[in-house]
Amino acid sequence: MEKYVEALDLVYHYGDIHAVNGISFFVERGEILGFLGPNGAGKSTTIQMLTGQLRPRSGRAEILGSDVWKSQKAVKRRFGVCFEQPNLYEQLTARENLVFFARLYQISGFKPEHFLERVGLGDRMNDRVAKYSKGMKQRLMLARALINTPDVLFLDEPASGLDPVSAEALRNIILEEKQRGAAVVLTTHDMVDADKLSDRVAFINDGKITALDTPYNLKLAHGQKMLSIDLATESGGKETIQLPIEQPSTGDKLRDIFRNRKVLTVHSKEATLEDIFIAITGRGLAG
């Protein structure tokens, strides 16, 4: 097991507000960790400590075994960050943005075209970023995060502002990076993305990790598989009832329904990560 990212009892507070209160986790080589939590839960502060932007008040952040704060420059060469808010140089072209950052990483023989084509911006590489849409900026930021072929990728809401086709392309790039062996820390509100992409997910609430496991195990431990049945009513309307699949009485109830009522549709329904988050923390992810 190769730990590429490790948070060891991280603590950070802004004055009296405890943003991060003793968080510990790790991400292995070739693993995607979904980092889920509502706004203000402490996700961004944790990522800032892991990327050397904030010094932990206590605890340690490590990338590939090196202390992030103490060996900032060496560590920064090994990871890439895609921020939630666009933070590009808008008066430079997409090409110039990538070349500038490649020079900061001192990458020799850098070919910006390769990265821009990978995120679908090959034909707009000489346009100034100020002319880009939010989705295009998001894609350019992803390209920027990849220029140093990072061992660790921090992605903060990478699909934000993307159309469905671009979002799918982005998911493929993330999976390609995982295949290459990169460890990915994926911060997102999108439960579908988190579920599809993450090998494990961490729920963070009030500065603490409240659950950390694979989506499957979390659903197994905290969710219930349900049957959702739409029935026709006498007045011509529709009524929906839900039955837990794993209860012994469900079979008999189902038989009665089919015998006595007009059934419109039957669906099996798994608990979503959001349902589980609510079950564990008592609050929704949107808050």
Binding site: Q72, R77, Y89, L92, F100, L104
Partner: protein, 361 residues
Amino acid sequence: MNVKTIVTLLGKEYTLLFRNKVFTLFSGALLLVLIGLYHVLPAEIPMEEPAIAVYSEVDAADFFQAWDEGAEAIRYERIPSAEALIDSVQNSEQPAGIIITEKVWQDIMAGRPADVTLYTAPGLADEHVRSMAFILEIVFSEMVFRMQGSTLRIATEEIFIGEDILQNTAPFKDQMIPLLVSLLLVMEVFSLGISLVEEKESRSIKAVLAAPVGMGEFLFAKNFAGISVICGQILIFLAAVGALDSQFPAVVWAILAGAVLTTGISAVLAAFSNDMMSLISKGVFVMIVMAVPLFGVLFPGMLSWWMRVIPTYMLADSLNLLINKGAAFGDVVVQLGVLSVIALAILFAGVICIREKVQCQ
């Protein structure tokens, strides 16, 4: 600090600065306006000889001959009538005038105290009126003695302790150079501050700091770019007005200290401003405070003690002494030293403020 990183950051800074239309137009236009302004200002050395209008009711040829020969302290212009004299003074064509009446003439000739009325133009400063009256008393005494075949046995000698740098009176346009240079510096607070605020507002600073770049390298490049642009502008201005000949190293030191001061102030302002409007609102106040003492260099009479402690005064005064008064390096070294220390302290404060604010973003 990594040289390659700093060179890369500087390349980005210069590209962004010159792609910023506001900065480029503002800086270029300001430079052209100041160079143009210099060339249209008066090139003559202002001669402030006191003058007085005189009408005499009597033939006082001896008196005026004695005045021509002996009294250089004040020149006179003879007016043909009392009415013309009153009119010319009232219309401010002459600052002051006297009428030598028959009685005045008789008193002078008899050696009696003579009452001479001094007519002064509206708005003439009180100290001018008093000094003119004082000079006239001396002139009249001198005239009387000369007409009697003797002269006053009073001789004054001026001894300057050190070099008389005020002797090198400069034309008005040259006197304006330190003021214009300092104004150029003060105005650059805005364009540099805006560049920093944009970096903060767009959060691009976060992306740079997530790359292998230290905060020190980032701020060094930012400040170096700002300082070099300001220094470049001022050197172009000084070269265009031909003011680079005197004490070049000291002039460059003064400009460099001024550029550091400007960069530091813009960094402090940018740290506490969330957007361009917020920066401008704070910047206007700072600009007024910085600009007030500059006029004191041109009009020393209006200088108060508090103006002398504002760093821009030290800058403008040093430049004035070096460019217009022929001062040597040693004459300004203390003032420039103090200015440099203050400028570096403000720059340091600016760097700390930016660092703290970016971390809290």
